[in-house]
Every structure is written in structure tokens, then in C-alpha cells.
């Protein structure tokens, strides 16, 4: 691997630390009093729609800065060291169409590397490597809008992985996919070398995870093993109509 200051190295001992975190939009509180330290390699986030889990995910790479408390990633504060945090934490969105910004596949994968100032020769090599890894080599020069839904999600993930972040946050990566592509993305998530935080409604995606957080009405209501956390979530939902 070529040496770049942008190639972040994870420091699992420090992890992602949220201390007394709250977030409001105007007068509406969407997240309150969250204190948690994430050092595991596989962390799942579940909860009902509107429970605050997407806001929580966005806090982890500084897309949202908390209105109360602080978030640090491997010791870097998202409020003051945004650039370094974002280079450490890649983010994959639910809708790949909204995050693919270049007309063709290879150009889009290269986008993050251009922003990092990676030289063209190395950029081309890294793009080729990632396209090959995710079976997109044959589509390198194809228009992104002609890819299938599954291929678009793979492209979105490839565009993040090519930047070699130490950690990756995925916000509902299988929601728009059919069963086959959802399984493919689940396998890909399991195989990632990086530390991963996944927000999901797809409980099967959490197989093999070390820890799962459950959010409800903007609060962290459970923090447990996947089986126990999923039980808590099901109990919460069972009482509602």
C-alpha cells in the first residue's frame, strides 16, 4: 500500500467515543443524552423509523455535529478535526443514486481519491483494484445510471473503500436491494477489513456482529449482544400498533 497521510489507521483502543451527545433540529430533539464507546469491529444500530439512528450514524463522521456533548474518533474531535475524522470514517448512504456524482463508474470511484490528492497513476491503480474486487471492471466506462440497483450499491461502497478509511458507517445499505443483492452486500460487509457500524432494519445483516445498539425516540435504550438487542427491539415494537 502506498504511503499517504490520507490512509488512516484505526486505533481500536481509542474507538469512537460519544459523551453526553444530544442533537436538535430547531426546537425538535432527535437524539438525547447518548454516552457510548464503540471499540468493536462490528456494531449494529437498530430502531424504528424516526428513532434517531440515522442522526447517530451521521455523528460518527461529522456529517452532523452534536448540539450537545462531543464525538471523538480515535481521539479526533468531529467538531474541530473534521477533515481527519472524515478520512478515517467512510460513509455509505441508503440511496446510492444520491451519492454517485460522476457520470461513469470509474470516474465516480476516483472522485474521493482526487479530493485526497492521490497522484493519477496511483489513483488509476487503486480504482482498478477496487473495481476488480467488486466485479465492476467490465463496467468501468459505463454510465452509472445504467447499472442495476445492486451494482449501484456496490459502486457506492467501492467509492468509499477506495479511500481506505479505517472505519465505515453504512446507513441502511440493503433497504433498496432485492434478496440476492442484499445477501451480496451482507457478505461484503462481513468480509470488510475495516471496523464497521451498520444502521439497518435488516436484522439478518447483524449475524456475526459483536454488539448492537437499539434506539427509540432519540434515546439509546439497549446496548447488548445481537440476540439480546434484537429481543429488546422486538419487545418494544410488539407493544405498539
Amino acid at each position: 500500500m502506498a504511503e499517504h497521510s490520507t490512509d488512516a489507521v484505526a486505533d481500536p483502543a481509542r474507538g469512537i467515543v460519544l459523551t453526553g451527545v444530544g442533537h436538535t433540529y430547531g426546537s425538535r430533539t432527535v437524539l438525547a443524552d447518548v454516552t457510548v464507546t464503540l471499540t468493536e469491529r462490528r456494531v449494529g444500530i437498530i430502531g424504528a423509523n424516526g428513532s434517531g439512528k440515522s442522526t447517530f450514524a451521521r455523528l460518527l463522521n461529522g456529517l452532523v455535529v452534536p448540539t450537545e456533548g462531543s464525538v471523538t474518533v480515535d481521539g479526533l474531535d468531529t467538531r474541530g478535526q473534521l477533515r481527519a475524522v472524515r478520512r478515517r470514517v467512510g460513509f455509505v448512504f441508503q440511496d446510492p443514486d444520491a451519492q454517485i456524482v460522476h457520470p461513469t463508474v470509474a470516474e465516480d470511484v476516483a472522485f474521493g481519491l482526487e479530493n485526497m490528492g492521490v497522484p493519477p497513476a496511483e489513483r488509476a491503480a487503486r480504482v482498478g483494484e477496487v473495481l476488480d474486487r467488486y466485479g465492476l471492471t467490465g463496467h468501468a466506462d459505463h454510465p452509472a445510471h445504467l447499472l442495476s440497483g445492486g451494482q449501484k450499491q456496490l459502486l457506492a461502497i467501492a467509492g468509499v473503500l477506495v479511500m481506505r478509511p479505517a472505519r465505515i458507517v453504512l446507513d441502511e445499505p440493503t433497504t433498496l436491494l432485492d434478496l440476492l443483492n442484499a445477501r451480496r452486500v451482507a457478505r461484503l460487509v462481513q468480509e470488510l477489513d475495516q471496523s464497521v457500524v451498520v444502521v439497518t432494519h435488516d436484522l439478518a445483516l447483524l449475524g456475526g456482529f459483536e454488539r448492537v445498539l437499539v434506539f427509540d425516540a432519540g434515546r439509546l435504550v439497549a446496548d447488548d449482544s445481537p440476540a439480546a438487542a434484537i429481543d429488546t427491539y422486538r419487545s418494544l415494537m410488539a407493544g405498539r400498533t
Binding site: 472524515r86 460522476h102 461513469t104 472522485f111 474521493g112 466506462d141 479511500m163
Partner: protein, 217 residues
């Protein structure tokens, strides 16, 4: 109009620098307007076709799509010009526009967007002195090309959804009922895209994309 996106072929036209191809496009434009005679304009059109189909080995269907996209405009223009100035004049106007459309298609189909964007960024680089960031202009062009088909696809989906519930599929009413939901979707998509640009390091020094008061839970 159909966007003629890059067609990957190993040809001398594809390998030529984007700046040279853009200069050639400008030269073609100047010649067909500066020398308004049928033999010259026709000759340029033949040269463009030879370059596109012969040297660059582009599919004829691709160039055909570009012509089909403007065929009604060309016909209308031919009729008006023919009535006013005669057949020769109409032929000249049609050939001239056809040449420009095809030449532009050959350039875009043989040049990667990143190469075109690099030229635009280079041309815009003097504007740095007045605070313009050329990379931003380049990104704007690339994103425009990327999102045109996506917005068209979203509009189609809205029309289908409305048709499924008995809504109008043609005419002014269909457009007006499509416009508002499309605008809402485009604004939502623009918001997520702004976040994605932030997440991929497009603007590391700027504050987060989320505007004050915009909620997500």
C-alpha cells in the same frame, strides 16, 4: 436530447487530448458559419462522419440517436428557411446544424468527462484571482451530466405512479402534476448528495452540509 456519453474504443480519436478535440469542435463551428456554401458545409459533415464512424469506430446508432433528438427542430427550421430563402438556403441551415450536432456527439463520445472537465478547469484557472475555484466548476459539469438522466428517470417514475392512479399522462396537466413531486424529490436528493460530497472529502473545510432546522431522524 440524448446525452452521448463516452464510448470506450481504442482509437486515435479517443487518444487525442481533450483540448485538441474541443479546439477542432470550435474550428468546425467557425468554418460552417464563416464559409456558408453547400460544398464546404457538406464536406465538413462528411469529414465529421468519417472521423466518428471510420476513425473513432463509434456505433452509427449512437450518432443516429443524436440526430433523431433534433430531427423535428431541423425539419421546422428547414420549412421556415425554405419558405423565406429557398431550398438551397434551407439545405445549408440544416446541414450546418446537423454537422454541429454530430461533431459535438463525436467529441463527447470519444472523450471521458474527467478529461473534458480538466480542460474546463484549466480554462477557468485564471478566475482564481477573483476567488473562483475551477475544481468546483468542473464538479458542477460532471454532476450535471450525471444527474440529467437520473432526474429524467425520477420524472418517469412519478408519471407512472400518477398514471397507475388514473392521472393524466400527457399534456400540460401531466407536467404540472409531475413538477411539484419531482422538485421535492430533487431537493431531497440534492441534500443527500451534498452530504455524500462532504463524506467523500469534496469540501473538507466547510461546515456540515445540513442546513439549520432541516430534520432527519
Amino acid at each position: 436530447m440524448t446525452l452521448a456519453l463516452y464510448v470506450p474504443v481504442a482509437s486515435p480519436v479517443h487518444r487525442a487530448p481533450a483540448g485538441v478535440k474541443l479546439l477542432a469542435l470550435i474550428a468546425v463551428s467557425v468554418v460552417v458559419f464563416a464559409v456558408p456554401t453547400l460544398p464546404v458545409v457538406g464536406g465538413v459533415l462528411v469529414a465529421v462522419l468519417l472521423t466518428g464512424l471510420g476513425i473513432a469506430r463509434l456505433p452509427a446508432a449512437l450518432l443516429g440517436r443524436q440526430v433523431r433528438a433534433v430531427v423535428w427542430w431541423l425539419l421546422a427550421l428547414a420549412v421556415v428557411t425554405g419558405v423565406v430563402g429557398g431550398v438551397a438556403s434551407a439545405a445549408l441551415v440544416v446541414l450546418r446544424l446537423l454537422t454541429l450536432v454530430l461533431a459535438a456527439a463525436v467529441v463527447t463520445a470519444t472523450t471521458r468527462v474527467t478529461e473534458l472537465v480538466a480542460v474546463v478547469e484549466w480554462l477557468c484557472s485564471p478566475l482564481r484571482v477573483v476567488g473562483v475555484r475551477p475544481a468546483r466548476i468542473g464538479l458542477l459539469i460532471a454532476m450535471t451530466l450525471r444527474f440529467i438522466p437520473l432526474v429524467a428517470e425520477r420524472a418517469e417514475r412519478i408519471r407512472d405512479a400518477q398514471a397507475a392512479r388514473g392521472g393524466a399522462v400527457r399534456g400540460i396537466r401531466a407536467w404540472t402534476t409531475t413538477a411539484v413531486p419531482l422538485l421535492v424529490q430533487v431537493l431531497q436528493m440534492a441534500h443527500t448528495t451534498a452530504e455524500a460530497l462532504d463524506a467523500r472529502g469534496a469540501d473538507d473545510d466547510a461546515p456540515p452540509a445540513r442546513p439549520p432546522g432541516r430534520g432527519r431522524r
